[in-house]
């Protein structure tokens, strides 16, 4: 008996009857051969560490953070890490500009557009909220100054101007 002999789509709940010989048990795991090749290819590739200049990672004055490494910084700005010891950290970013571009390139490995799209993916899939975004460094510093746990990135010049308001996060 044909379940659906006029249906051109076999990808169907009512697809024509068939019992493939090698399909005795449904849901059995099949490892795609191409996956092995792709995995090997990835393992060959080496990462290229990036150097950063002129940008300073800053924090709210009362927020205590250990010396971070680049991976910590990346995880923080991608929302993958929010806790260091007992300190809950939330990031804030600039909207655009050379400092923002340089930081994203050197620490996060993304362009401004790629970084925004990353957060849009989190946002529109219900997995997260975008970090607060500020049009200039003055507004960003003001936010960090009044928000315990907040961190962000500013230029060395701006940091020097606000040394009494915010503190530097050391990055090794």
């Amino acid at each position: 008996m044909k379940l659906n002999n006029t249906h051109t789509s076999g990808s169907s709940l009512t697809a024509p009857e068939r019992v493939p010989p090698s399909h005795a048990r449904p849901c059995t795991l099949v490892w795609p051969r191409s996956a092995s090749v792709i995995l090997l290819l990835f393992c060959w590739l080496a990462s290229s560490p990036l150097e950063a200049n002129d940008v300073v990672l800053v924090r709210h004055k009362t927020t205590t953070l250990p010396v971070l490494d680049k991976q910590d910084v990346k995880d923080l700005f991608l929302g993958k890490k929010t806790l260091f010891a007992e300190t809950l950290v939330s990031v804030a970013t600039l909207k655009d500009g050379d400092i923002h571009k340089q930081f994203l390139r050197d620490y996060v490995g993304k362009t401004v557009v790629q970084y925004r799209n990353y957060w849009r993916i989190q946002l529109f899939s219900g997995k997260g909220m975008m970090p607060p975004v500020f049009k200039n460094e003055t507004d960003l510093v003001a936010f960090i100054r009044r928000t315990p746990g907040a961190i962000g990135v500013v230029s060395t010049t701006t940091f020097d101007e606000h040394k009494n308001d915010i503190a530097e996060v050391k990055v090794r």
């Binding site: 379940l3 789509s9 169907s12 709940l13 557009v113 946002l123 529109f124």
Partner: protein, 410 residues
């Protein structure tokens, strides 16, 4: 010049002209009036056009169709640094699926207890492949249509989200090994009235759908960020059950008396998804592979077994920061044990119903932060993804499809 090519040129030119005009009037960044709300609000609106040379692709594409659009709006609020609540509604149309019906896309209460463990309760998007959770948001990918080999349109709104509970977090594996994140979910489908799965059940002309009984489904997903900058691989397993309550039609091919209630029981409905992505500077390389089992009992009268296979590989290049060009090749088979369609031949139907192989060339322009324009050409061999109800005339093995889309997002 054929009619198809002429229509493609007219629409492409129109898109460029309209896009250029819109880019001058759309502001960059969030809408100012929304910045002072007590919660975050974001949304998108996509309008598309599909035009195919020979076969109808989920809609009347042979004549060109604008019945191809999506709308979404979400709101989120963090009540504490660890507790977030949000929801998103969407409406979409592709041919006669969706019908602009506004449905709840996701709605979650998310408690991020620790980086290693968080819990989400509500309607949760399913991480089946790299794009399933954001497939309604056209702006977040380069292609207009996702590869049907991994993301079939028929089940788009079914394999979208589960109403239930999910756990997620990052597993500590040591920085030398990258990072490993996980998601596990348990819940039930929430199938909208105008779902693609309704069309799937009814397409053969045997049944009309009365409703669905959704049993508890389970999902587990892992994503490994390799210790290589920009590289990740992912795996997801899903297993569930879906019962469709139907009424036999007068012309059903089973000999069932008309108007008899028949339950179609898809058990198990399960699949494996493997994904790999490597982002190297302005290049993005992606490949995904999927096996799905759909064993269906038809009212206790008979049963069907189907093991579907699909994969694709693609490369994208971003240039001038706001433009992305991409090429993707995909293959999809209705039965991985009969890729040449011998069964279809034995039934006197074209073998090309067994497969669908596509080359897709895409161009995306992020005209502003809020306006995205796309243009895309499909070169297709096979008809495995098509519906009979969309193609009453004989189908052609080799055909083309052209797509354009404009999206506003904020």
């Amino acid at each position: 010049m054929t009619t198809y090519i002429r229509r493609v040129l007219i629409v492409a030119t129109s898109l460029l002209v309209v896009g250029s005009g819109m880019s001058l009037s759309v502001t960059a960044g969030p809408l100012t009036s929304l910045e002072n709300l007590p919660f975050d609000i974001h949304g998108f609106l996509s309008l598309g056009y599909l035009d195919s040379s020979k076969n109808n692709y989920f809609a009347g594409t042979k004549d060109g169709t604008g019945d191809f659009r999506e709308f979404g709006l979400n709101a989120s609020k963090s009540f504490t640094p660890k507790l977030r609540v949000g929801a998103q509604i969407v409406a979409r149309t592709l041919g006669d699926v969706g019908d602009d019906e506004v449905v709840l896309d996701w709605a979650v209460m998310d408690y991020h207890w620790h980086d290693n463990l968080g819990i989400r309760i509500g309607k949760i998007k399913m991480p089946l492949g790299l794009h399933n959770q954001t497939r309604d948001v056209d702006a977040l990918r380069t292609s207009i249509l996702l590869p049907q080999s991994i993301y079939p349109e028929q089940l788009r709104d079914t394999l979208s989200a589960l109403v239930g509970v999910g756990l997620y977090g990052e597993l500590p594996i040591g920085e030398a090994f990258g990072s490993l994140s996980y998601e596990v979910q348990a819940g039930r489908f929430d199938i909208p009235d105008e779902s693609g799965v309704v069309k799937l059940v009814e397409s053969g002309g045997n049944f009309t759908t009365e409703g669905f009984d959704e049993e508890t489904s389970y999902l587990a997903a892992l994503q490994w960020q390799l210790p290589v900058e920009g590289a990740r691989i992912a795996y997801a397993y899903f297993e569930g059950q879906l019962l469709a309550d139907t009424i036999a039609t007068a012309e059903n091919s089973y000999g069932i008396p008309a108007m008899t209630p028949v339950t179609l029981d898809a058990d198990p409905l399960c699949g494996h998804w493997w994904s790999a992505e490597y982002e190297l500077s302005d290049w993005l390389f992606t490949s995904e592979f999927n096996i799905q089992d759909r064993d269906t009992d038809v009212g206790g009268l008979t049963s069907t077994k189907a093991r579907l296979e699909g994969w694709y590989a693609g490369a994208e290049h971003r240039f001038f920061d706001r433009y992305v060009g991409g090429v993707t090749y995909s293959e999809y088979y209705n039965d991985r044990n009969d890729k040449s369609g011998q069964r279809y031949i034995s039934e006197g139907t074209p073998a090309h119903r067994a497969w669908q192989k596509e080359w897709v060339f895409s161009l995306k322009a992020e005209v502003t932060d809020n306006l995205i324009l796309k243009i895309e050409e499909h070169i297709i061999d096979g008809t495995a993804s098509l519906f009979a109800s969309d193609n009453t005339a004989p189908t052609a093995q080799n055909w083309n499809m052209f797509a354009v889309k404009a999206t506003l997002i904020f």
